[in-house]
């Protein structure tokens, strides 16, 4: 069975990738909302926000990127849910294939689709005046953290994708994830927030990830939050993966 894991996963990933390329609107809508937010924050609110640093768009782009991923993974849950409903999931499960390949195909597709959406959003930001001092190494680090973050959130998305009983339920989980950056250092410095809110903002995963990305994009080496950010991403990834696999096993036994 394991010998076929790679070829089976490749065949199944080819299938789910076609679902994305045949409805490119899923990538567009994933990118449109963050771009609209970016326009609003830069051209409407931005003038009134004093971050004490350079251009506002440089300040808020990392948060926008995380929102992009959070809204992109809703489609992963949706596609998985559709497979569960339609009977094709059972067809695959009754075939002599590496069974977890079905899940990995969705995860890899999610990764590719989100990377494309992220590239579109970064392209829009460049048009709006975003500039970075980051070298090739720092950009690689940014990409690596975003990939890790996408993987972590995708495995979270697998859980409702497998267990939801309605389409709405399958994608509703992403709303709090999209909202989380607003309660972080993504758009305003946390120093301006009242006590308990500030405490939450400074201790939730988004702040450390945003700070790290911001530092890397400004030409730094990740700053003091780098390890906290990596620990959060890895921790969420491991926990979500374990939970998703447990849900999956309960579903197929």
């Amino acid at each position: 069975m394991a010998t076929h894991f790679l070829s089976d996963t490749a065949a199944l990933t080819g299938r789910t990738m076609r679902h994305v390329t045949r409805s490119p609107d899923t990538i567009i809508t994933t990118a449109v909302m963050p771009i609209a937010m970016m326009l609003m924050f830069v051209y409407v609110f931005g003038g009134a926000i004093d971050t004490g640093q350079g251009a506002y768009i440089d300040y808020m782009l990392p948060g926008i990127l995380l929102i992009t991923v959070a809204s992109g993974i809703a489609y992963t849950a949706f596609r998985l849910f559709t497979d569960m409903q339609g009977g094709i999931f059972e067809r695959f499960q009754s075939m002599p294939i590496a069974r977890s390949g079905v899940l990995w195909a969705h995860v890899l597709t999610s990764l590719v689709a989100n990377v494309v959406s992220l590239a579109v959003v970064v392209g829009a930001a460049l048009l709006m005046g975003f500039r970075s001092d980051a070298g090739a190494g720092a950009w690689l680090a940014v990409a690596g953290i975003l990939v890790l973050f996408t993987l972590a959130l995708t495995w979270i998305a697998v859980i409702p994708g497998l267990s939801a009983s309605s389409v709405e339920g399958a994608s509703a989980f992403s709303y709090p994830l999209i909202f989380l950056p607003f309660l972080s250092s993504a758009f305003v410095p946390t120093e301006t927030m009242p006590g308990p809110v500030r405490w939450f903002a400074e201790h939730q995963p988004v702040t450390s990830i945003v700070n790290t990305l911001r530092d890397l994009l400004a030409g730094g080496s990740g700053g003091e939050d780098l390890w906290t950010a990596l620990a959060w991403c890895t921790g969420i990834l491991v926990a979500a993966y374990a939970l998703a696999m447990a849900t999956y096993r309960r579903k197929i036994s």
Binding site: S23, G86, E90, R91, S94, M95, I97
Partner: protein
């Protein structure tokens, strides 16, 4: 029972409950190799539950089940190599074309030259013309035929067809019946579940009736007929069935544009 040629399916004391609801209450059944075996039962009789256990999607609470000589619980991977499942809902990928669906399954079954296998099956199931179209544009009958075609890739010795004609119009039902007969002619063992008595009569070499979680009869159609008192000869004027009328006015099973006919008005 000799080990070299185990029955296609063997069930002993199979039980399954969902919470308090007992669905299967001790099923004993042997299905010999080759031919079509119909499992007949009304809605909720447990047919689908039984098929799901046999295709390793569900675990039984008690009893044993072997398919192609392999225990479904202990040797699930070997069972999956021996079977193919066509469930109640046509399990085709709607976004892929018919041909892409077949190629995908062929790749997952690791057959040589998936493209050629796909083209061959499209031809066998009269889908060549529609092969490049997305499956979402197919009619119910075409979708079912594609579904069954997908089940044949890799020539699994045992095929489960779970209510393959539920929800189909009479025309599509006949198309599916033809496909099933073709399967049995190739030596595949087909376990067919159905709630249509006529379907079992048309297709099955042997019939078992599943009722309230038990197999209550099991035999050939002739044997089942002997359960009733011998038929008395009566002369009855043969009235056409509605089905015969339907096929007569729509042009039978030939596809094409049916000639419009008007019923003669009574004088």
């Amino acid at each position: 029972m000799n080990e070299k040629n185990p029955p296609a399916i063997r069930l002993r004391g199979l039980e399954k409950s969902y919470k308090d609801l007992r669905v299967l209450c001790g099923i004993d059944l042997d299905v010999e190799r080759g031919g079509v075996f119909a499992l007949l039962g009304s809605n909720g009789a447990g047919k689908t539950t039984l098929v799901r256990i046999l295709s390793t999607l569900l675990r039984a609470d008690a009893g044993t089940a072997t398919v192609n000589g392999f225990d479904v619980a202990g040797r699930a991977a070997r069972v999956r190599e021996s079977i193919s499942l066509t469930g109640q809902f046509a399990a085709v990928d709607e976004i892929l074309s018919g041909r892409e669906n077949l190629v995908l399954v062929a790749r997952l079954r690791h057959v040589a030259d998936p493209g050629a296998v796909a083209d061959d099956l499209l031809a066998r199931f009269s889908l060549t013309g529609a092969g490049a179209r997305r499956a979402s544009t197919y009619s119910g009958g075409m979708r079912r035929r594609l579904d069954i075609a997908m089940s044949l890739i890799g020539n699994p010795p045992v095929v489960f067809l779970d209510e393959p004609t539920t929800g189909l119009d009479p025309q599509a039902r006949v198309e599916v019946w033809e496909a099933v007969k073709g399967l049995a002619d190739n030596g595949t063992t087909v376990l067919l579940t159905t709630q249509y008595l006529e379907e079992a009569e048309q297709l099955a070499d042997r019939i078992a009736i599943l009722h309230e979680g038990r197999i209550i009869v099991d035999g050939t159609l002739e044997e089942l007929k002997r359960l009733l008192p011998p038929a008395e000869v009566e002369y009855v004027e043969k009235q056409p069935t509605l089905e015969e009328i339907f096929f007569a006015v729509t042009g039978g099973s030939e596809r094409g544009r049916p000639a419009r006919r008007t019923a003669p008005s009574e004088k």
